[in-house]
C-alpha cells in the first residue's frame, strides 16, 4: 500500500488552495491505481496546526495534531504540497511546517508542488520559491508544477490537464519506489537511530575520521 500525503496551507473556508489540493489528491490516487498499485491519500490542513507550529518553533517539539502530521509525512511515499501565494512566495504557515521537519525527513521523497493566487502573474512562484525549497530538503520534485489563479477554476479544462500530468509524474515515482534503489542514502533520523543504534565503536571511528580540527 502506497501512501500519498497532501499538505494544504489555505486559510479561508472554503479555500481555492484546498480545492486544488483535492483535485491533485484525487488525480494522484487515480494515477497510482492506473499503475496497478494500491494507494491511500491523506490530507493535512495546516490551518488548525498554526498554534502548534508556533509552539514548536519555541519549544522544539511537536505536540498533538502536529506530531501526527509530521509522522504522516515521514512515512509518506509521496507528497502533494499546495500553498497560497503571499507576498510573492509561499505563505509563512506553509514554510513553517517544513522548517520544523527534522533534517533528512524528505530525503528522496517525490513531491508535487502547487500554488494558488488571485492572478496568473504569480505563477513563477513554483519555480522561484517552491522548487528551491524542496531541492534544499533533498526531495525529488516532479517536473510539472501546478499553479492555479482564480480564473483557472473555470470550465475550459486546461487546469485539469496540468493536474493530471503532474499527478502522473508523481505516480511514476511513487508506484516505482518499492523497487528502485535510491541514488543516495537518506540521512539518518533520530527515530532510525533509536530503532537501530550505531554501535559505539563505529561512533568512535566516525569521530576520529577527517582532518585534525585543532
Amino acid at each position: 500500500m502506497k501512501k500519498i500525503v497532501v499538505i494544504t496551507a489555505g486559510l479561508s473556508v472554503p479555500s481555492s488552495t484546498r480545492l486544488l489540493a483535492d483535485l491533485l489528491g484525487e488525480a494522484a490516487e487515480r494515477a497510482v491505481e492506473a499503475r496497478g498499485a494500491e494507494v491511500e491519500v491523506e490530507t493535512i490542513e495546516l490551518r488548525p496546526l498554526a498554534h502548534q507550529l508556533a509552539d514548536h518553533l519555541l519549544t522544539g517539539f511537536p505536540s498533538g495534531g502536529l506530531a501526527t502530521a509530521i509522522d504522516q509525512v515521514r512515512h509518506a511515499d509521496g507528497l502533494v504540497v499546495v500553498t497560497p501565494v503571499f507576498a510573492a512566495s509561499y505563505s509563512g504557515l506553509f514554510k513553517t511546517f517544513f522548517d520544523v521537519l527534522e533534517e533528512g525527513t524528505l530525503d528522496g521523497t517525490p513531491v508535487l508542488v502547487a500554488a494558488t493566487a488571485g492572478t496568473a502573474r504569480h505563477s513563477l512562484v513554483l519555480d522561484h520559491a517552491l522548487r528551491p525549497l524542496f531541492s534544499y530538503l533533498h526531495a525529488v520534485v516532479v517536473p510539472t508544477g501546478v499553479f492555479a489563479a482564480t480564473d483557472d477554476f473555470g470550465a475550459d479544462g486546461a487546469l485539469q490537464k496540468r493536474v493530471d500530468r503532474a499527478a502522473a509524474e508523481l505516480a511514476a515515482l511513487v508506484a516505482g519506489s518499492s523497487t528502485a534503489t535510491p541514488a543516495a542514502p537518506a540521512r539518518t533520523l533520530v527515530a532510525d537511530e533509536l530503532a537501530s543504534p550505531t554501535p559505539f565503536e563505529e561512533l568512535l571511528k566516525r569521530a576520529s575520521e577527517g582532518p585534525p580540527q585543532y
Binding site: A54, D55, L57, L58, T59, G60, F61, S63, G64, V190, E193, L194, P197, T198, P199, F200, L203, L204, R206, A207, S208, E209, G210, P211, P212, Q213, Y214
Partner: protein, 400 residues
C-alpha cells in the same frame, strides 16, 4: 543512599563521612544559572546577586535534606554559570553531605585535560562528594569561541570523553586524536581521589548516540525531562537500558538513570498556578509559546500542590523504570531567591514521602547511583594514586 565519602587509606581504619541511609533514591536540584528579569517586578539581579543566590540555594538544598546540587555551564550572557568548579568548590567548603555535580559539563568545547584536572581537584577538596554530567551545549557561537564547530558536536563528545576516561584511569597517557593536540607521556594531576574517578552521567535530550555512549562505558544516563514530552524521554532511556545490557554491564533494569523535573509548589494548587504563570509565560526557552496548561499536559512540568508534585514525580517510573537520581529545576525564569528558598522548604517537607514512594515496589537488585564511597568499595578499596616525579622533571632541567 551512600553519599560521597573519602575512604581513608592511611592505615587499616576506614573512615566515612557518610554512612548508608534509609533510602535508595538521590533527590536534588539543578540550575542553569540564568540571570533573568523577574517579570512581576521588572527587576533583574546583578551577576553578583545571582552568583551569591546560587550558593545560598545550594546550602539550603543541603539543609532541607537533598542529596545533590548540580550546576550548568555556560559561557555567555545571560548566564553566570562559567567556572563551575569554582562555584562547586566554594559550596563544597560550606556543606558537609550534599553531592556536587554538573548539569552539564561541556565536553565538546572544554579541553578534556582541564576537566580531568579540575574535577579530580574538586574530588580531593570535597572528600569525594563529586560526580559530573557530560553534555554538548546547543549554543552555536560558543563553539567557535573555543575553536570548535557545533557540527562536530557528537564527534567532539565521543572523542573528548574517550580521552577524559583514560586520563583518570591511566597514570601516563599517550594520545593522538582529531580534536586536540597530541599528548605524549602526559600525567593528569591530581590523580583521582583514592584511585577512583568521579562517576559520570551523560545527558542528552534527543541524541541517541549519547545514550549509546553512556551504555558503552556503563556510565549513567540523564534525561533533562523538562522541555520534551515523556514519550521522548522514555525512548531515550529505553535505548540506554537496552544497550547497557548489550554491553554486558548488567540487566537493563540495573542501568543508572537520572531524570530532570520542573516543579512549582504552593499548598493550594491554584495559588501555585497564579504565582508561577507570569514566570512561565516569559521564561527563556518556552516563554511566549504554549499555555502553562498545555505545557503541563505535554511535558513533565508540574505546577500545583505538593501532593500533585508527589504523584506526578512518582509516575515518572511508569515510563522510565526504577531509576536512581531525580533532579528538579527550581530557580530559573527570574524567580526571586526568597521564592526559590520557599520552594526548597516545600521540597524538603515532601522528601520523606517522595523517598518512601520511590522505594515502594523497587526490586532489591536495582542499584543505587554510584558514589565515591561505593566506587572505592567496588574497586577493592582505596589506594593513593599519587604519581611522584623527580624534581628535575618538574622544573624542566633542559632550561637551565
Amino acid at each position: 543512599m551512600t553519599s560521597g565519602c573519602h575512604v581513608n587509606y592511611d592505615g587499616d581504619k576506614t573512615t566515612t563521612k557518610q554512612t548508608r541511609g534509609e533510602w535508595t533514591m538521590q533527590i536534588g536540584i539543578f540550575t542553569v544559572g540564568d540571570v533573568t528579569t523577574d517579570p512581576t517586578t521588572g527587576r533583574t539581579p546583578t551577576e553578583h546577586e545571582r552568583i551569591k543566590a546560587t550558593v545560598a540555594i545550594a546550602k539550603k538544598a543541603e539543609e532541607v535534606g537533598l542529596d545533590v546540587f548540580a550546576t550548568g555551564e555556560h559561557h555567555n550572557p545571560p548566564f553566570i554559570a562559567s567556572a563551575p568548579t569554582t562555584t562547586l568548590a566554594y559550596i563544597g567548603a560550606q556543606t558537609e553531605k550534599i553531592i556536587l555535580s554538573t548539569a552539564t559539563t561541556l565536553i565538546t568545547t572544554t579541553d578534556p585535560v582541564l576537566i580531568a584536572e579540575n574535577y579530580a581537584k574538586l574530588q580531593h577538596l570535597t572528600d569525594g562528594r563529586v560526580d559530573l554530567m557530560m553534555g554538548r551545549g546547543n549554543t552555536g557561537p560558543v563553539y567557535p569561541w573555543f575553536g570548535k564547530d557545533i557540527r562536530q558536536g557528537i564527534n567532539l563528545a565521543i572523542e573528548n570523553y574517550a580521552l577524559l576516561h583514560r586520563l583518570w584511569r591511566e597514570d601516563v597517557v599517550d594520545w593522538e586524536g582529531r580534536f586536540r593536540t597530541p599528548l605524549h607521556g602526559f600525567t593528569s594531576t591530581p590523580r583521582p581521589l583514592d584511585g577512583a574517578p568521579p562517576f559520570v552521567w551523560h545527558g542528552s535530550i534527543r541524541s541517541p548516540e549519547i545514550a549509546e555512549q553512556a551504555a558503552y562505558y556503563g556510565d549513567g544516563f540523564f534525561h533533562n525531562h523538562i522541555f520534551w514530552p515523556p514519550s521522548h524521554t522514555a525512548q531515550m532511556v529505553n535505548l540506554y537500558r537496552e544497550r547497557y545490557e548489550h554491553y554486558g554491564h548488567g540487566p537493563a533494569d540495573t542501568a543508572i538513570v537520572g531524570l530532570g523535573g520542573h516543579v512549582f509548589m504552593r499548598k493550594n494548587s491554584q495559588d501555585a498556578i497564579n504565582e508561577f504563570r507570569p514566570y512561565f509565560d516569559n521564561a527563556p526557552v518556552y516563554g511566549h509559546g504554549p499555555s502553562l496548561e498545555d505545557f503541563m499536559e505535554s511535558t513533565p512540568l508540574t505546577v500545583g500542590s505538593p501532593q500533585q508534585v508527589l504523584e506526578r514525580t512518582l509516575s515518572f517510573r511508569d515510563y522510565a523504570g526504577h531509576y536512581q537520581r531525580q533532579l528538579f529545576l527550581l530557580d530559573h525564569a527570574g524567580l526571586p531567591l526568597k521564592t526559590v528558598l520557599e520552594q526548597l522548604d516545600l521540597l524538603g517537607e515532601l522528601l520523606p514521602e517522595l523517598r518512601k514512594g520511590f522505594d515502594e515496589g523497587r526490586p532489591a537488585h536495582v542499584p543505587e547511583a554510584p558514589t565515591h564511597g561505593s566506587l572505592v568499595v567496588a574497586a577493592g578499596g582505596a589506594k593513593d594514586a599519587t604519581v611522584y616525579a623527580e624534581a628535575d622533571a618538574v622544573t624542566g632541567s633542559s632550561d637551565r
